[in-house]
């Protein structure tokens, strides 16, 4: 055996650095030659908590603004969506992300950090969402949701989206105030980086309510997709009987999309607004075949209760879009393959990382699937979302440099 002098590191002595944490992801990107195609991440996050002071200044109502300032944001948190994401210190980026040095004050910290992880994963364009705001729909003070959503959207579009073309978003809609939600679409459509609008599905107002029809028409007219981002609510009566985050998360993140999807379909919203594209986010995929089968079976017996439908529920669901994360990869690949077939994954599935959250998925979760053709992988990782969001084909500067290196070496 040879004896050699290696590089030896003590990870406990190193400062937190996103690039270092994701070094293996970067290696995956290089090994798989992600520079050959565009990757769009349809669900990623930042922590708007770090920008609270700036966002609060955008709250137009002085009463609500003062409440936010003096409660340091707790006004937002009159609800319970879980917590425990950091697993008692196991997921180290939760504890240490705040300590990461960000050189150069010229750009917002969230832009710098977001581009860092995007480059490591091989993502060219990321759709960025907030984090605690996923539970804002539970806030019993309607004006708080409307005021804070508008403030956040103004701050996001002005300070992040306008400054970095690789970061886009679907903007939060304050659905507890339908008129305010409609105004949001009217006022923010067309701004740089606004590729659609978002309903957070932890909420208890039915989305087929007549109050929303103008909103859906406005989105359809503009050709903008409506996304439904799941979360959990540990305070929900049914979730309240679970005693572990794994249970509340596994069930809640599917349940809230299941209930709104069911209402969406049986009330015939896809028939009423056939041009309105919907995207269902962060419930994984296994729930979709379950709900398709369940609704189709009942529809054949009770079609009189869903008279707007001209086809089976699954026919509408198959035309919607789904984000891939957190994909159920454990144990049964045959089921996963069948799921891909049932949802027309080649055209309807869009990759999502959910980074930096605890159950994030890398692009390799799609790229390494043996039952997909190369074209299907490219569609799911980027092309489907590029078309959905009407994006130009963009490659990151890192990918362009890699292509240049390859050309020079050839």
């Amino acid at each position: 055996m040879n004896v050699i002098t290696p590089i030896v590191r003590d990870p406990n002595a190193e400062k937190f650095d996103t690039k270092k944490l994701l070094e293996h992801a970067e290696q995956q990107a290089a090994d798989r030659k992600y520079e050959d195609f565009m990757i769009v991440d349809v669900d990623s996050h930042h922590y708007e908590t770090g920008s609270y002071k700036d966002i609060f200044q955008y709250i137009e109502d002085p009463i609500v603004r003062d409440q936010f300032v003096h409660t340091k944001g707790q006004t937002l948190m009159l609800r319970s969506t879980g917590g425990f994401q950091e697993m008692a210190g196991r997921i180290t980026r939760y504890e240490h992300r705040g300590t990461e040095p960000v050189p150069g004050a010229a750009r917002h910290r969230d832009i710098v950090v977001t581009l860092k992880w995007m480059d490591a994963l091989g993502v060219d364009v990321a759709c960025l969402f907030p984090t605690p705001m996923l539970g804002l729909g539970l806030n019993p003070i309607i004006e708080v949701e409307a005021q804070y959503a508008r403030a956040y959207n103004r701050w996001l579009t002005e300070h992040i989206l306008a400054e970095e073309p690789r970061i886009v978003s679907m903007l939060y809609l304050p659905m507890n105030d339908p008129a305010a939600a409609l105004r949001m679409v009217e006022d923010f459509s067309g701004r740089q980086g606004v590729v659609g609008f978002l309903v957070t599905t932890v909420r208890y107002k039915p989305l087929h309510d007549n109050a929303y029809m103008k909103l859906y028409r406005a989105l359809e007219e503009r050709g903008l997709p409506l996304a439904f981002h799941a979360a959990t609510n540990w305070g929900d009566q049914s979730m309240h009987i679970t005693n572990r985050f794994i249970a509340s998360h596994a069930l809640g993140f599917t349940w809230f999309n299941i209930v709104h999807m069911t209402n969406w379909v049986v009330n015939g919203i896809p028939e009423r607004f056939p041009g309105l594209k919907s995207v269902w986010i962060e419930s994984g995929l296994a729930w979709v075949p379950f709900l398709m089968q369940r609704l189709d079976n009942e529809y054949m017996m009770r079609s009189s209760e869903a008279p707007s439908l001209k086809r089976k529920p699954s026919d509408y669901m198959r035309e919607m879009f789904y984000t891939s994360q957190p994909m159920e990869m454990i144990g049964n690949r045959t089921m996963l393959e069948e799921t891909f077939k049932m949802i027309n994954a080649e055209t309807q599935l869009v990759y999502a990382s959910d980074y930096p959250h605890w159950d994030m998925d890398l692009p390799s979760t799609i790229y390494d699937l043996p039952f997909l053709s190369l074209q299907a992988k490219k569609n799911i990782l980027g092309e489907n979302a590029r078309k959905l969001f009407k994006l130009d084909t963009i490659l990151s500067p890192e990918k362009k440099a890699r292509l240049k290196e390859r050309a020079a070496a050839a």
Binding site: D10, P11, H24, R93, S364
Partner: protein, 121 residues
């Protein structure tokens, strides 16, 4: 195969870890209860840097004689290596994935000689 120098024998304390890199291969070397263990720094889940996270003892449920749940505690005899990307846990002394022993971190041999600790890569 090469013997890669990690450290002098007294350098690592209990619970310490060092990441040794040789070409593209990274190995995490652990010191635990007087022994050394070495595993490939590659999580079986999505390829994360498994050896760069924390070490946390296994959590166990405490049950009474009638199988009532009494609480939880740590099993001090079973430390786990926790991947920092998603929290997958591996037994430090075997490299087996805690919830599924069919999966594991790849083990590397440790050689101690002349006061030095080496890992075979």
């Amino acid at each position: 195969m090469a013997q890669v120098f990690v450290c002098n024998e007294l350098e690592m304390k209990a619970g310490d870890v060092r990441i040794v890199r040789q070409d593209r291969i990274e190995v995490g070397v652990y010191r635990h209860a007087g022994a050394y263990y070495a595993y490939r720094n590659h999580c079986a889940h999505q390829g994360g840097p498994a050896c760069e996270g924390i070490i946390r003892n296994k959590v166990i449920d405490l049950l009474g004689p009638d199988k009532s749940f009494l609480g939880q505690t740590y099993d001090d005899n079973e430390p786990h290596i926790v991947c920092p990307w998603h929290g997958w846990e591996y037994k430090l002394t075997t490299g087996e994935c805690a919830p599924d022993p069919k999966l594991r971190l790849r083990r590397h041999e440790i050689v101690k000689r002349e006061g030095g600790v080496y890992v075979v890569i």
